[in-house]
Symmetry: C2
Subunit: 221 residues, 2 copies
């Protein structure tokens, strides 16, 4: 399958307008509360992971009756909903790209978990297909090598975030250059694209690239 | 001075009710748009850092006329507003504790920057005094040693987040224990306090402790 969209349970206030307005088509997979929200929008996820412990019992019964395939996380496995969801999506559907919505906002321990998943060796292959998307951010994940990145229309900034210790980080042709940097996790934020496609490379570690925009500024200006 | 509060420019939707309702007293220091918001609430920050580049020119003029002490970040110094603000606060006021509001929500490159600042050696001493606060999260920062942590009323979860490679991470008496863990940045989320005070320790690295709650669940249940 070409593309799959995942909805996890973060607050709807962080959703993109396209998602909020029901303009995004499936196939969808969901974690926990994300499934309820898809059903409310008339979309039935092909796969749902979760024990629905953040729902009321009424919500839970109604939701389970409408879903096709529901898998529960085994508490003793010490695995998050999103980890199990990604594992099943990869095993059963092998999409070429994966867009993840609802992974941001609210609890910051969840956000960091949703980002750091992609530094785990077992998710290395999935990481390169994944985009985390919310109304102000688009996050992609990179392993060592030379990479071309494409500017997403409407995004003002691009940040380079070593998520682990990295070596040899070089920003080749962005507005602010960097040569052969090494260090612990850090946020090189507020860089900008020069043209539509730019390049960066590094020798070891995992790097997140975050394209973002400043909604405050946009609303006021 | 006993306590200082800092307001930086993140979205007001992430503020605590106490901040939104104007119940938090100063002394305040602010970065950029945070200063405007304090003025709107009738509070004049004792110190403001920023070039106000996210404000309109009208906002900028009105704001500067009302502020007492404004310091601009030198672009060539490659320093964020919050880094300069923390440096000046420590140099000129030496508060015993620092509460930071407005550091979360919106741009995730900013959020990660606001968290990872406290892994920089030059902010090691400040890190132990700092609490990042928003409506669903309270974040504290720890360096190697044995630590007692106190449960904040209203928070349901406690997460342990190695922000750098760590060794010897041991969760002594929380609901879910951990012994002598080592590894790269990771999110041990959704742990819980047992009683009011719990303990953890580690041998190297920097760990953030995030107390959080699930607003979705609370609203619906």
């Amino acid at each position: 399958m070409e593309r799959m969209r995942l909805l996890v349970g973060g607050p709807t206030t962080e959703w993109t307008d396209e998602l909020t307005n029901g303009q995004l088509t499936g196939p969808w997979a969901a974690a926990d509360r994300g499934a309820l929200r898809l059903l409310e929008m008339g979309q039935v996820p092909v796969l749902t992971v979760g024990d629905f412990d953040s729902m009321t019992s009424v919500e839970r019964e109604e939701t389970l009756a409408k879903l096709t395939r529901v898998v529960s996380v085994k508490p003793e496995k010490d695995e998050t909903d999103l980890e199990l969801l990604l594992t099943l999506v990869e095993k059963d559907y092998q999409p070429e790209s994966i867009e993840i919505y609802g992974a941001t906002g609210g609890r910051i321990d969840h956000l960091l978990s949703n980002i750091w998943i992609f530094t785990e060796p077992r998710f290395k292959d999935i990481a390169s297909k994944v985009t985390l998307i919310d109304r102000t951010n688009q996050i992609n994940f990179y392993y060592p090598g030379s990479h071309a990145i494409q500017h997403t229309p409407g995004m003002d900034y691009v940040g380079f975030m070593p998520l682990t210790p990295v070596t040899g980080l070089t920003l080749v042709d962005e507005k602010y250059k960097l040569t052969d940097w090494q260090g612990n996790p850090y946020s090189f934020s507020s860089n900008e694209f020069v043209g539509d496609i730019n390049h960066f490379k590094f020798d070891s570690g995992v790097v997140a690239v975050i394209q973002s925009r400043d909604l405050n500024g946009r609303i006021k200006d």
